[in-house]
């Protein structure tokens, strides 16, 4: 921000310097012009006077009065001097000026508001200086006016530049500082917040959009971790407890070899189960940290649905999943979506395991169909449902519906799934009826077959 201000002040300074120097230049040129012009006029009058005085052409007076106007306080003077430059005789001449006069040529000078033009003449071996003096009306009045005008113009101009700069600065900085304010509000605890993308389609809009996409990725990645932890803490406990229980029981007193064998077998089974769960959980957790659009590949959604179901079953063997593939399209190309298989699998397995968890029969019904430019996955259960007034909050992380107190969980699965679907430009919607069940509908756009062909060719 400070840097920005520096640039702005620099710009203001440049503009001000430019304006001032421009004004000074104008004032200087006009003054210069006024001087030159006035000296020319004085010289003309001096020459006329010389004609009249030295050549006696008095008729010229008439002519000069007709055509050459009398200047303001115009005075003529004549000085006769000897070869040592001493004044012999003078008329109408202020002797203080003698030093400033060039005794052998012409000279123009100004004292106060009075301008002088003098010239040396040699007449009948006598040396003369003939001069005309007058006040420059233009200099005394018009130039003053011009100077005041220019000073006011400069002040106004500087004021204008400053006001405009501040205005521009504010209009530049305001959306950025708004953006900054919004970004500052987002922390690891409220990653679900998003920046408001205004109606403007400019760079800032794009920036906000990019930030939002990044936030979705970060949020997904955070949630993936949380999801793993919550799953792990929950799912790994059961086999561990059973292993510890069996071992404790076996150790509690002396037993026969067969009994020990039996116990160890049970422990081995439980450990195997544990291993299966761990690997399934790890499979879900390895959702690639380079999840961005670049790593999206064409994947078959039916394969992903089946894999997700397998994973759910591996994690919890009580869950049952019934799949309706009767609406599977004839053309398998209609099932290809551009996406990341592990992420989609994570999303679907989360929803499916939720569906199983919250229904008394531990059964989820999954169906898949393809419409013209997308696939539709329905995941349905006949479970406890979600209260209608809470449906709007279900996508908030850590939100759990009021009727879920008897079920373990952290409220991470659904927001995570929704974020993943969003990353695939899809939609996830939930409709539910309390006590009857819940249906989650996922729609993901499929790849344009023409695009796929191009990708293959390339």
């Amino acid at each position: 921000m400070r840097n920005y201000n520096k640039i702005l002040y620099g710009l203001i300074a440049i503009l001000v310097i430019y304006t001032v120097s421009f004004v000074v230049f104008i004032f200087y040129s006009i003054t210069n012009f006024a001087f030159t012009d006035f000296y020319k006029r004085l010289e003309l009058r001096r020459n006329l006077a010389a004609e009249r005085i030295f050549n006696g052409k008095s008729s010229g007076i008439q002519w000069s009065l007709t055509y050459v106007e009398e200047l303001d306080k115009q005075k003529e003077f004549i000085v006769e001097f000897d070869k040592d430059n001493r004044i012999v005789h003078s008329s109408g001449f202020d002797k203080d000026l003698w030093g400033r006069i060039d005794k052998h040529a012409t000279s123009n000078f100004k004292i106060g508001n009075t301008f002088y033009a003098t010239k040396y003449y040699l007449q009948k071996d006598k040396h003369f200086i003939l001069g005309v003096s007058a006040e420059n009306y233009f200099y005394t009045h018009h130039l003053n006016y011009l100077r005041n005008l220019l000073i006011i113009a400069v002040l106004l101009g500087v004021l204008f530049v400053i006001v405009i700069s501040l205005f521009v600065k504010r209009s530049f900085i305001k959306p950025i500082s708004e953006l900054i304010g919004e970004v500052e509000k987002i922390g690891s605890e409220n990653l679900y917040l998003r920046l408001t993308v205004g109606s403007e389609k400019g760079v800032l809009g794009k920036l906000a959009d990019t930030f939002n996409k990044m936030l979705t990725r970060i949020e997904t990645s955070f949630e993936t971790q949380k999801n793993f932890v919550s799953n792990a803490s929950h799912e790994l406990n059961t086999p561990l407890t059973s292993i510890i229980g069996i071992a404790d029981l076996a150790l509690s007193k002396e037993r026969s070899v067969d009994e020990y064998k039996h116990s160890i077998q049970k422990i081995a089974d439980a450990a195997e189960n544990l291993e299966k769960k761990t690997s399934a959980l790890l499979l879900l957790a390895r959702t690639g940290f380079e999840n961005n659009n670049q790593t999206f590949k064409p994947v078959r959604i039916d394969q992903i649905v089946m894999d997700a179901e397998m994973t759910v079953k591996a994690i919890n063997e009580h869950f049952r999943i019934k799949t309706d593939f009767s609406m599977l399209p004839d053309d398998s190309m209609k099932l290809k979506v551009n996406g990341s298989a592990p992420l989609l699998q994570l999303a679907i397995s989360n929803i499916v395991s939720n569906a199983c968890k919250y229904s008394a029969n531990n059964t989820a019904y999954v169906a898949l169909g393809a419409f013209d430019n997308g696939v539709l996955i329905l995941i349905k259960d006949e479970g406890i449902g979600i209260p209608e007034e809470e449906l709007t909050y279900i996508y908030d992380p850590y939100f759990r519906a009021s009727n879920t107190t008897n079920f373990s969980g952290y409220g991470i699965g659904l927001p995570l799934a929704r974020n993943i679907i969003k990353m695939h430009n899809g939609q996830l919607s939930v409709s539910s009826s309390l006590g009857k069940g819940t249906t989650v509908r996922i729609e993901i756009p499929t790849i344009d077959p023409r695009l796929l062909r191009n990708m293959r060719l390339a």
């Binding site: 079953k313 169906a367 169909g369 419409f371 329905l378 249906t439």
Partner: protein, 173 residues
């Protein structure tokens, strides 16, 4: 062209009514068909609506997004068998109109659902099952009765009804 049947299937533009189409498609596994989803619709008798509003406008109003998606799904499911699928409106209960419609649009088969109750969302929509049955016999289209299974549960999501129609069989345990 002879082996493609033009089949008229009554609908009320709900996803649920697409079950009629699905059941029909499953009962006739080898027939190539051109499906006409027909709906009885009273377009009113004001001169402005007769002149100014076209069939497409009415259809646009009646078909919702899910219905269209359902149609697309059916079309992609039976891609090799459905040559074409479109909606049409039957705008009168008049017998002569219907017979002319069948003739004019060369309908070869008419599906008559049994056990389906029309649940029109729009005021103008009416049930055409009975008048279809009554008028088809004289003109020639073959009537195919389709008995619908009672709906398993009331759909929570409107797309439910075209899925999960069978007993839950498929699963890999």
């Amino acid at each position: 062209m002879a082996n493609i049947a033009r089949v008229l299937v009554p609908t009320d533009f709900s996803v649920d009514s697409l079950r009629i189409v699905l059941d029909y498609m499953e009962t006739t596994p080898d027939q190539k068909v051109e499906l006409v989803l027909a709906c009885g619709y009273d377009i009113g008798d004001s001169i402005t609506s007769l002149l100014g509003i076209t069939k497409e406008d009415h259809l646009m109003k009646l078909e919702n997004e899910d219905f269209i998606k359902g149609c697309e799904m059916i079309k992609s499911r039976f891609k090799s068998r459905i040559t074409e699928m479109y909606s049409d409106l039957l705008i009168s209960r008049n017998g002569r109109y219907l017979r002319n419609y069948f003739k004019g649009s060369r309908v070869t088969h008419i599906v008559v659902p049994e056990g389906y109750t029309f649940a029109p969302k729009d005021r103008g929509v009416f049930d055409i099952t009975e008048i279809l049955k009554k008028n088809a016999a004289d003109v020639g289209p073959i009537i195919i009765p389709v008995v619908l299974r009672e709906q398993i549960s009331e759909g929570i999501d409107s797309m439910d009804s075209i899925f999960f129609r069978k007993e839950w069989g498929v699963s890999y345990e």
